[in-house]
Structure formats: C-alpha cells, structure tokens
C-alpha cells in the first residue's frame, strides 16, 4: 500500500518541478484569458476612432441627412473626441444626364407655376366680380372668365400630370446616378457606408444600408436604432404631434438586467456572466488535460523506455496505476488551488474587480474541484488504457488530440448554454461522461437555481463511468505495457478484459 504513495510522490515531485507544469499553470491560462478578454476591451474602449463618412441618398426630399447627423452626434460623439460619424449627402450635380433633366424639370415646373398663378389670378378676379355688383358688363365678364378658368384649370391639371411623370423619371435618374456615385465612393473607401432613403420611407419604414461588410452587426444595429427614432419622430410630426411631446416620448430607454440567483437578485453583466464560466471551462479543461496528459506521457515513456518492467517487478500494476492517478491528480488539484489562490489575491489587491467574478463563490469553487476530480479520473483512466496500448507515440498523440476535441466541444455550445442553461438538450448532453465536467461547470453558475438533481445525477454517472474505465484500464495496463512494438488487436484486448 505504501508504494502507492511512494509512486504518487515521485510522479508529483518530478512533474511539479518540470517546466511544462510551470507553463500550464501560469503562462497558458494567462494567454487564454488575454486572448478572450482583449476583444472585450477593444469593443468597449475603442481608442480614438477614425471618423466614418456615411453617405445619404435621399429620395424623399425630407432633408433626412440633417436629422441623421444630429442623432449620430448625440449618441456617438463622446466628449472631447472627434465625431465618429459624418453624414454626407451624395451629390449628383456633376452628372450630365441628371442636370439636363433637372433643367427640363425646372422649365416644366415654372410653366406649371405660371399657370397656377394665372389660375389664382382668374379666381381672384372672378371673386371680385361676384362681390362688386355695380360693374358694367358683369354678366359677360363672369361668363368669359369662367371659360378661362375652366381652360386654365384643365391646362394646370395636365401640366401637373406632366410634372408628376417627369418627377418620377427624374427621381429614377437621380437614384441611378446617386447610386453610381455612392458605389464608386464606397469602392474607393471614401465612404464607409451609405444609406438610401426611398420616397415613402416613413410609411413603410424601409431604409437601405449599403456597405462592404453589412455583417458588421455593431454598425447596422446602431443605424437601426437611430433610424427607428428618426422615422418615428417624423411619423409623429406628420400626425401633428407637438414637438415637446415627441421628444418626451422618444427619450431613450435602457434595460438593466438582473438575474435571480439562489442568494438573491443580482445585476447581470454579460461579459462577466458569460466569460466567467467560459474561462472556468477552459481552466477545467486545462487542469484535466495537464494532469491527464502527464499520466498519459508518463505511461507512454515508461512503456517505451522499459522502466515499466523494473517498476512492475517492485510494485504491482494496481499500485503503479493508483500511484500515478493519485500523484498526478494531486498535481492537478494543486494547479486548481494555485489558480483559486491567485484569483483571490487579485481580487483582494483590486486587480480584478470583485463584482466581475461574483460567480466565483465558495460553492462554485467546490464544484470546480469536484468536477475536476471526476473529469481527471475519467479521462485519466482512458489515457492509461490508450497509453499502455499504444505502440508508438504518434498514434497515442492522435487519440489524445481526439479526446481533447471531444472535451472542449461544450465550449462551442456556450452561447446556447448561456441562453438556456437547463434546456432539455443541454441536460441530455451533460449526462454524457465525456462532456459532463465541461457542461456542468458552465451550467452551475449560469443557472438561476441550484440544479441539485442534475449535480447528483451527473456525479453518479461519472462515478459509475469512472469505475468502469478504471476497471478496463487496470486490465489493459497489466498486459499491454509489457508488449512492445506490436499493436494489440481488438480480439486480444477483449480477451484481456474477460480473463484479466
């Protein structure tokens, strides 16, 4: 029995002093955390942003670019910084076809205006005739002026129609020319994006956003939000709502998010709440695979350099396996404790604000240790089997890689877990022993209530699976480590499992 502890001590001490342990404990978590938190910083505290030029093509004639500029200045122009957005009306004045049409349009318009004026004049004259009964030839005048009025009205209506038609084609030429212009400005990177306001945009609420990368959600969301306000404001104005009321009604709304936790309400902070458990999963994964990897390489090394034969002649296979699991498991625990200690140190010294990692409670730390131990035992036993079966390091590393991929898979689903940590699918997935530790370590802090049942069920599943894999590993380890150069066939492995 003592040999278990002697072997454990040996494994612990030789690995603890190694450079790779130092790296896995300090450097790589630091790297990972910086890699995933740096984007947050960039996102939140963007340094001096270069001003973005936004083009506007306004087909509605509502002078929308002024409103837009005002709103953008209001929302995205922090103090003592230059404006983030500058709105520019896309000009088509230099375009020949448009200019020609425009002058023609103006001509028609002035013609219509003069007809309209004439019409008004006749109307006014007739009104004067009506009122003044003393004018000679009044009857005659009234009759002839009526004919004139009729004719002028008809001419006015016809010109109106002509003007309307011409306006439509002018608009389409304007639109065509403006788009051509805006596109060339976009291509030459003069514009970051341009907005196209159709004629009836206040009614149907459709505005086009043209950009080289409309997938930039941050930008499109901003414009959506601002345009929403502008359009609603315009609609209200059209309905003759008082200016003061409009402003009152449109004052911005913020949602403050709170999460109901077992210990009470808590304000929700996306980054802290989401990245916290994500970092947790990563650290768990690191811890399991650092210690498991040592277990794996230790067996692989002893098998390939034949120390195993000496070792087996002084200690039995259970002692060797047990010792390795114990020693390297404690090493993993030490690693986890170092991390917890460092975090506590950082909190107390104020490097990490305490409220950013409020999910790190004592009980969550305890769960972390529990799921680390379970995960380590489970993967460790698999590593022992694989390590003792492998005839060369290359094969073994491939299987190691495969296991890592499986274990890190829950991280890919982290957004789904965040949205609904206790959905049926996530629950089912977390009952699969390969995935249990990673899923549970995300689910526990994200759940609003303590998921006691699932904790018990997953621990039970893990314990049963661990017993099974350790049994298998024990059988395989005893026989396979002495084999050399030759790959074991599946039938051979099956026989070892049956006979032992």
């Amino acid at each position: 029995m003592k040999n278990i502890f002697r072997i454990a001590r040996w494994e612990f001490v030789t690995r603890f002093r190694s450079r790779s342990f130092l790296f896995n404990t300090f450097i790589s978590p630091l790297l990972f955390i910086s890699v995933i938190t740096l984007p947050i910083f960039f996102f939140q505290y963007q340094p001096e942003v270069s001003t973005k030029l936004i083009g506007v093509i306004d087909l509605s004639g509502k002078n929308i670019e002024k409103d837009l500029q005002k709103a953008l200045n209001h929302y995205y122009s922090p103090e003592n910084r230059s404006r983030e957005y500058v709105v520019m009306k896309v000009s088509v004045n230099s375009s020949g076809p448009y200019r020609e049409m425009l002058s023609e349009y103006k001509e028609i318009k002035s013609r219509r205006d003069s007809i309209a004026r004439l019409y008004e004049q006749i109307k006014a004259q007739r009104a004067a005739y009506y009122k003044n009964t003393k004018i000679a030839n009044r009857e005659y005048f009234l009759r002839t002026s009526y004919e004139k009025l009729q004719n002028t009205r008809e001419e006015k209506e016809l010109t109106d129609m002509e003007l309307e038609n011409f306006k439509t084609s002018l608009d389409s030429v304007y639109k065509f020319e403006a788009l051509k212009m805006a596109d060339s400005l976009l291509i030459t990177n003069v514009l970051n994006a341009y907005l196209l306001f159709p004629h009836e945009f206040t009614k149907n609420g459709i505005v086009e956003y043209h950009s080289k990368n409309p997938g930039d959600l941050r930008e499109t969301e901003r414009f959506e939000k601002i345009l929403q306000n502008i359009i609603i404001e315009k609609r209200m104005m059209d309905d003759h709502v008082e200016q003061a009321k409009v402003h009152k009604w449109l004052s911005p709304i913020y949602i403050k998010k709170y999460q109901l936790m077992p210990q009470g309400q808590k304000e929700w902070d996306f980054y802290a709440q989401f990245y916290g458990p994500l970092i947790g999963v990563f650290l768990l994964f690191m811890a399991i695979f650092t210690a498991g990897g040592y277990l794996f390489s230790s067996i692989l090394l002893e098998k390939s350099n034949r120390v195993i034969e000496v070792l087996l002649s002084y200690a039995n296979s259970i002692q060797i396996m047990g010792g390795k699991i114990l020693g390297l498991g404690s090493l993993g625990l030490v690693q986890v404790l170092i991390w917890l200690l460092l975090t506590a140190l950082f909190i107390s010294s104020g490097i990490i604000p305490a409220d950013k990692i409020s999910y790190l409670t004592l009980s969550n730390a305890l769960y972390f240790i529990i799921y680390f131990s379970l995960g380590f035992l489970f993967y460790g036993a698999i590593f022992i089997s694989v390590g003792s079966l492998s005839s060369n390091e290359y094969d073994a590393q491939q299987i190691n890689q495969l296991l890592r991929t499986v274990a890190v898979f829950p991280v890919l689903l982290s957004l789904i877990v965040l949205a609904e940590p206790n959905s049926l699918w996530i629950r089912i997935l977390s009952y699969i022993p390969f995935l249990t530790p990673s899923f549970m370590i995300m689910r526990i802090p994200l759940s609003s209530q303590l998921i006691t049942t699932d904790i018990y069920v997953t621990i039970a599943i893990m314990v049963i699976s661990i017993l099974f894999v350790i049994f298998v590993a024990g059988r395989i380890f005893r026989v396979a480590t002495l084999m050399q150069g030759k790959k074991a066939s599946w039938t051979e492995i099956w026989r070892w499992l049956k006979v032992g």
């Binding site: 003592k2 002893e302 034949r306």
Partner: protein, 306 residues
Amino acid sequence: MAQNILQLKKVSKSFAGTVVVGDLNLKVKGGEVFGLLGPNGAGKTTTMRMIMNIIRPDQGEILYNDQPRHKIKNLHFGYLPEERGLYPRATVLEMLVYFGTLNNLSARRAEVEAIRYLDRLGMVEFTDAQINQLSKGMQQKIQFIVAFLHDPDVLILDEPFSGLDPINQIVLREILQEYKQKKKILIISTHQMEQAEQLCDHICLINQSKVILDGQLSRIKKNYRENAFFVESDDSLEFMQEISGISIIEQDNNSCKFTVAEQRLKIPVLFENIQKKAGIKRFEIVEPSLHDIFIRLVQAETEGGK
C-alpha cells in the same frame, strides 16, 4: 540457516495460444549461480518475469522456501531486465532513492546504499547528473544498482554483461560473488557461453519452451566429455599415428588431440607408451566447451523436433 530454495513446479505460460513456457521444472539453490540459457525465444524472459511476479503462470507454481511466490513481497527480489530502462530526466541519486524506497528502504538508507554502490562502481561523481547525460555503459551500471540496491534475497539478471567494459565486469563479478557467499539465490540469463561457463555453477538450458539440459556445470561437462585427450611435447609426436585404439582429431608437430576409441585401452598405459618415445610437457582431458554443448544440443533438439 536452512538453505534458500527457489522452485518452479510444472510452470506453463502461453500467450494467445502459443506455448511460451511448458511444464517447466527448476530448482535453484542458494549459494550457487544458476545460469538460465537458451536461444532467442526459448522462454527465458517469460520465466524470469514469472519469477519476478510481473506475470502469473497459467499453470504450476513458483515457490520460494516453500512459500508461493505471489504471497511473498517483491522487495525480496531484484531484477535486471534485458531491456534496460531508466527515467531520462531524473538525476542518478533521486532515481536510485526512488527505486530503493519502492522496496521499503528508508530514504536515508537508500541514499547511503546508492552512494556506496556508486562509489564502488566508480560513479560517485555522477550522483547528481541527469540520467540522459550519462553514457550507455554508465546507465547500465545504474541499472545494476537498481537491481540490487535493496539487497534482495533473489537476484535475477538478464544479460548482465552486455555493454560492460572488462573492468566493470570484474567489479560486477565481485558483487555477485558476495551474493553467492551470502547463500542467496542468483539467476543469470545470458547468450555469452564463456560468461556462463566462468560464472555459473548450475546450468539450465531451455529450448522451444522445454528444459533440455539441467544440472551442475561440472557434471554436465563430465557427461559431455568426448573421452578426448590432449598431449603436448617438445619432441615430435608423429609416432602417435601408429598407436592403435585411438583416433586423432587434430595434430601438429608437437601436440596432438585424440579420442580413445577402444574401451580396453587404459589411459595410464597409453600415457606410459607415449612417455617412452617423447617427453610429455602436458597431458590433459579435453573438456567440451559450454558453447559446443549448447550448439550440439539445440541443433539436435531442433532437428529432433522436426
């Protein structure tokens, strides 16, 4: 003190249907060097692994002083496997202490013993060196120390001399001599017949998983004596060809190797006959070498098996 005895009774082991060791009976007495010989694949390593309790026999039993092997603690046994292996990154002393403590030595005691042996093998200055910085021969010596650091009662050495220079071979032999004097059990497996001849008291030859020869080396040699003699003289020995009843194997001017073909021919009479004609400088019985016996037996066995 009663004599230490290691016994293998009808021990068999097969792997995947192939019999590696079949019905093996051995009896090793303390105080004698037991040589386990045989061609490659004869089952020597498997036999030694079974004695070390690394693998269990399918049938039969292994007894040490009448106690079943699997009930005896491993610390009474020491083993030098044929394929040597050490922790490449560890330092010499810490690794020796580790293996020592695995055999129930206290850390302090293991350290003292390790340094003692390192000194004896001329390696004390490498105490804190890393294993992978040592030469092959030095690693070999470290491997030895791992085998007998804890002063085992049964010491099993698989090919102990391969890779050792002559001086270290002498040191190793001295250490083995001490074991012999302490009446401990010493089993050596080797391919080098001259080594076995010089070192072993008892020989067991295994071929194709069976014992084909087992006994005291001196007795085996006697048994395989071909009744051959060797005579050397300052004078010409050409007349030997005329002596009847002998057949000459090799002859040159001053020496002659022959066998006595006729049973009736008495050696003293023959000796006198030769002496009358030439001054005898040397007259001796030609012992067959173990090498010859080995080859002869293995060949006969292999042919017989066909």
